[in-house]
Symmetry: C2
């Protein structure tokens, strides 16, 4: 039913989405290690200075890639918020 050009583009998007989720999963693995390391060494969970640097860095990278900076800030916020919830879940285990 779908035209073949549109189908081919959608197949590309589906492949990119799978890669995107793979990267996100890898990223949560690393942030879980960060969380474990922080707990073991009694380091503060949040680090507003690191967050600010990350946000500025990502904004610059987004600009280079012609991605809307408002979107990239929302994306990082969403991920950081999930990292925080993930830390909380880990602590409950």
């Amino acid at each position: 039913m779908t035209d073949p050009v549109l189908q081919a583009l959608r197949d590309e998007i589906d492949i990119l989405d799978a890669k995107l989720l793979d990267l996100v999963a890898q990223r949560f693995e690393v942030t879980r290690r960060v969380g474990a390391h922080k707990r073991e060494n009694n380091l503060p969970k949040a680090d507003p200075q690191r967050e600010a640097v990350q946000i500025a860095r990502l904004e610059a990278m987004a600009k280079e890639r012609n991605i809307d900076p408002v979107f990239s800030a929302q994306l990082l916020r969403l991920i950081i918020d999930e990292v925080i919830r993930d830390y909380a879940r880990e602590e409950l285990q």
Copy 2:
């Protein structure tokens, strides 16, 4: 100042974030081609059926990767909303 273990993990996160933005940029390139194709062929911009399939697919992939499904749904929603804004910007050009 930062401890070396934490620094190494943060370096990993920064590399993953750069890869993540590369993928997101690639994805917007493809969705721009989708937008152009739809305009040229007078196809409807939104496709709720395709969106529903994408959301279900991503939810299943998130589960496989031990990613919270609520988070993955929010992530896809954020990206799709930006695609819609991006289409609107392209039309204004």
